[in-house]
Symmetry: C2
Subunit: 379 residues, 2 copies
């Protein structure tokens, strides 16, 4: 039969990280000793207090009931308390917070809430988490690419954006893949632009809790109706497999309509996972421990990289290294060099053509794996 | 600020069952003794073997990793084995099955895979699970309503559908809310129409395992590339809170593109839930027990209804009663009559205007609650 599917879907190559994983599996099966440094999926344990909370909730559950699709009030209150304390400003759990089934889900679907028949577009950095662009393409939403490069410190140059046609604008600080951090002044200027030109800043902040120098500014610090913030437990609390996050905005009308929009979507998070998320949001100690741990892992790898002709950018937040080498003119060539040493990294071009000639290397690995990576680098 | 949201979202009243639940909560708080018979959410326990499987998986999990978004091969194989055995035809786990985060999620997003710029539409029965219509509206997909009524045995009259303009067609047998079952001949004729007119039948079969008379025909029995089938563990295995289901099609190209489409959507089901789903698909005994249990509950309530001026339709599958009364000309009036007796039911009009003058009453309640419902009916 003829399937009349969206060309944006059929003509897209699959999410490139998937293809990389397949190559890794092939090489492993060929007997090669390779460490996978491509996926931002923490290899250290989820904190015990969170696992215990999940276990207790599962043990108590005899009959299973549909979960709340906006998050229980208890969960939203714990998110509110955690963020209100951290940023010294109040986030009302009833009107400013919606829980989500992991931020990937919420990031993908959020632009669907908007009307795009006005010819406005969603603005996306040229190096980005691929979901922003795939969401635009698969939903046939007009988009504009905002070029970022070393010259712009990997942040969109706000003077060069077609701002009048922007309806939504994605920003991600600390930035995946480059670890660049948007300063307070940068975000302030962006909010002024949003207020003047009536667009919404979509601030993806899944790495904000993992910093090793100054604490990154959050969009949550700004009193404005022109932002929506995506916060995740995946990285902060090592809960990638739980699927739990939050969408926050001070724009009450936006949150009200978002709830209505999400009602038929089937995105309710299982109640036992919501219970474990409460344990995660309520505890800040494990986050501090994760910061200390990642700082240590980062220092070890950087020390190895520094012994060779390799440069890295940023690296004061998140758990990525954005690496280039004067000896390699392309991401692919540099990735191949790493692969020969038994380290699988992601070519920067996976995140957009401006990723050349970098590679992204994760360090959310166990200490044993980190030591092995260092040995592989130096062998 | 001015939010330029889709009018289809801002102008829709919230999912009406949500409003009913609020009314129920209010009356309960006023001290009224009411049994909630509105939500198809089983009140009996999830089978112990499934709960144990979830618990074991959670206990074993120390570090949490991103789940497979198409379902692990082990899960897809267990779905394949369960369905292949039941319908004596092979469903390849690699090319014909995708797991989903509950069928609500998959039903909502499935039409987004298609190109709608050809002016074709999705065809939806006038009495339906509200998600089919909300998916069309919120995604700005053209739709056609197929009238169903007592005269059509609550199935779309296939001779009266604008079939040439149909790209997708929703069918739900056993039908929510009326419990009507589409016969083998009806489905055969529908498939012939689909093949002739090049559309896809979307067969929502979340109640197919709960029958109390002849086993309902499934679209899975037909060797055709023109259907996609949605199967859920929610009702069959009392797993509404787990969020796990499956999408099946013999159209390999459709499944291939569906996988690609779903890759950036963030719909991976947590691995520990996938493990419990394997336990559920692998066991057919608990499903037989659920059938016996619901038949018994149904018989009790029907026996009470029969003592009053109340009629019910169908009721040989699912766990709903579709009730009318010669004394009530509107769903709302009949629902009010039930409410005065301390029973909250859903006005049929929640499922579409053709739901008048019926109400839907669930019997997925504990035996104690069923006895109480009978007492309330007869008081």
């Amino acid at each position: 039969m003829h399937l009349n599917l969206k060309a944006e879907i059929t003509e897209t190559s699959a999410y490139k990280i998937g293809a990389l994983q397949e190559r890794y599996q092939e090489l492993i099966q060929e007997g090669m000793d390779i460490i996978n440094c491509t996926i931002g999926d923490p290899k250290d344990d989820t904190p015990k207090t969170i696992r215990t909370s999940l276990l207790n909730s599962v043990q108590k559950m005899h009959n299973s009931q549909y979960p709340s699709y906006i998050g229980t009030l208890q969960l939203r209150t714990s998110i509110s308390e955690s963020l209100s304390k951290e940023y010294s400003t109040y986030f009302d759990p009833e009107t400013m917070i919606v829980s989500c089934n992991g931020t990937k889900e919420a990031i993908y679907s959020f632009p669907q809430l908007f009307d795009w028949l006005n010819n406005k577009c969603v603005s996306i950095p040229s190096l980005s988490y691929p979901v922003y662009l795939l969401s635009a393409k698969y939903n046939q939403i007009p988009f504009q690419i905002m070029n970022v490069s070393k010259e712009t410190n990997f942040l969109p140059d706000l003077s060069k954006i077609d701002i009048e046609n922007t309806q939504l604008l994605w920003i991600n600080s600390p930035h995946n893949p480059t670890t660049t951090i948007a300063s307070y002044d940068y975000l302030k200027q962006l909010i002024e632009l949003a207020e003047k030109n009536n667009f919404i800043i979509c601030s993806d902040e899944c790495y904000n809790d993992l910093y090793y120098d100054e604490k990154p500014t959050s969009i949550l610090e700004f009193d404005s109706e022109h932002w929506v913030c995506f916060r995740s437990l995946s990285k902060r609390s090592h809960m990638t497999g739980y699927r739990s996050g939050a969408v926050i905005s001070k724009n009450r009308e936006l949150i009200k309509q978002l709830k209505k929009f999400r009602s038929p979507m089937g995105v309710g998070t299982p109640s036992f996972i919501q219970d474990s998320a409460i344990a995660a949001w309520s505890d800040h100690d494990h986050v501090a421990q994760h910061r200390a741990s990642y700082k240590n892992k980062r220092d070890k790898i950087i020390s190895a990289l520094n012994k060779l002709d390799l440069n890295y950018h940023g690296a004061t937040a998140g758990f990525y290294l954005w690496v280039s080498s004067p000896n390699h003119q392309s991401s692919e060539s540099l990735a191949e060099w790493f692969l020969k040493k038994g380290i699988l990294v992601t070519p920067g071009t996976v995140f957009g053509p401006d990723g050349n000639p970098y590679i992204r290397m994760v360090y959310c690995l166990t200490d044993d794996m980190i030591d092995k990576v260092c040995t592989h680098i130096l062998k």
